[in-house]
């Protein structure tokens, strides 16, 4: 699969990975309970949390310079995260976050 999803229900949520799922120990979907925090859960902070808690190995294939690496699209509820502020977007309850690997084969 080419997508990993985190979707949030209340304080918990889920992540799904796409192509990216190879980095996530082959899991396509995560139901995640984010720890409560003083700082808002921006996607920037979420990426850090994912790196520390979900990525199995070679995190540089997913994260580069505090953002996702080129070739991965981040979707918030089926919309490109750039429409919502990208790294600065604050994750809301019930949001579904997907990471999509762009495909190039044909």
């Amino acid at each position: 699969g080419m997508s990993t999803t985190v979707s949030f229900n209340g304080k918990s949520g889920n992540i799904s990975s796409g192509g990216a799922e190879l980095l996530f120990n082959n899991k396509k979907k995560f139901d995640v309970m984010l720890p409560s925090s003083d700082k808002p859960w921006t996607i920037k902070n979420l990426l850090k949390w994912i790196k520390d808690n979900l990525l199995e190995e070679r995190p540089e294939l997913f994260i580069q310079k505090d953002s996702v690496r080129p070739g991965i699209l981040v979707l918030v509820n089926d919309a490109d995260w750039e429409l919502l502020g990208a790294l600065e977007y604050e994750v809301q309850p019930n949001d579904r976050i997907m990471f999509i690997s762009t495909l190039h084969g044909g």
Binding site: R69, G71, I72, L73
Partner: protein, 282 residues
């Protein structure tokens, strides 16, 4: 307008009768198709279905670009080639198949490796471009050439059980560089030779590329400008994503573009467009 029927022959009317009675298509749509020219870059898993459905529908001129020859390992997904055609150029193989279905379509085989020094010459001859390639360098090359030459680019891709489809540089929508300003690290890119692909997955995406080309050519617009279709064949799921709009900061199509001619895409991507096949030993 004056005698809209004039350009369709009696044979055209018989052949395309099921399209001529289509609401929102009709004689006008058919005539627009007949006048249109579509270039398919890549005569592989995406290019085969795209070519045959464009020819069937009556697109006037179809060009096919590919520099490879048919291999046995192509035939599980590249359905216009033939077993006895292994070793012949793919672009020619497609042209032969297309002509036997519809000899009234003008077919042009471009047996070249599209690069910075020849892409514009080929692309400038066509109205609509279909990206049916299989590598990152070719995708940036096509995108840049299409923006510079103001052509819509219908992009498809497939790997394993999954496919993606979007239309770039059309109707005020974004280009490939708006979405992907930087190329992916080469070690993160998987092609069909290494990752495998179920043939009917590019088959489905190639059909949808043909559909969008037909709609654009017939003046019906496209459903995938600024949208990305994610198809998961194993799940049988289709998801349509809203992409960012055209970016003012895009280095190619933005307000202050820094790219005004084609560049060296192998260097830019750190990888070449050749997709060499390794033999599989089991």
């Amino acid at each position: 307008p004056e005698n809209l029927c004039s350009q369709l022959s009696k044979e055209d009317v018989a052949r395309y009768s099921r399209q001529l009675i289509l609401p929102d298509f009709g004689v006008g749509g058919q005539q627009k198709l007949k006048k249109a020219s579509v270039l398919i870059v890549g005569a592989g898993g995406l290019g085969c279905p795209a070519a045959i459905y464009l020819a069937a529908a009556g697109v006037g001129t179809i060009g096919v670009v590919d520099y490879d020859s048919v291999e046995l390992s192509n035939l599980h997904r590249q359905i216009l080639h033939k077993e006895h055609g292994v070793g012949t150029p793919k672009s020619l193989s497609i042209i032969l198949a297309v002509s036997s279905l519809n000899s009234s379509v003008k077919c042009v085989s471009h047996h070249v490796l599209l690069k910075s020094n020849n892409a514009e010459e080929v692309i400038s001859q066509y109205d609509i471009i279909i990206d049916a390639t299989d590598n990152v360098a070719s995708r940036y090359l096509l995108n840049d050439a299409c923006v510079l030459l103001k052509k819509p680019l219908i992009s498809g891709s497939a790997l394993r059980f999954e496919g993606q489809l979007t239309v770039y540089n059309f109707d005020g929508g974004p280009c490939y560089r708006c979405i992907h300003p930087s190329p992916p690290p080469p070690e993160t890119v998987t092609n069909c030779s290494d990752g495998g692909v179920l043939g009917v997955v590019p088959g489905t995406i190639g059909c949808l590329q043909a559909l969008e080309a037909i709609k654009i050519a017939a003046g019906l617009g496209s459903s995938f400008s600024g949208k990305l279709l994610l198809f998961d064949g194993k799940e049988g799921s289709f998801r349509k994503i809203t992409l960012r709009s055209k970016q003012k900061t895009c280095s190619l199509c933005g307000d202050n573009p820094v790219i005004s001619k084609l560049i060296d895409y192998e260097q830019f991507c750190g990888a070449s467009p050749t997709d060499k096949t390794e033999t599989l030993h089991l």
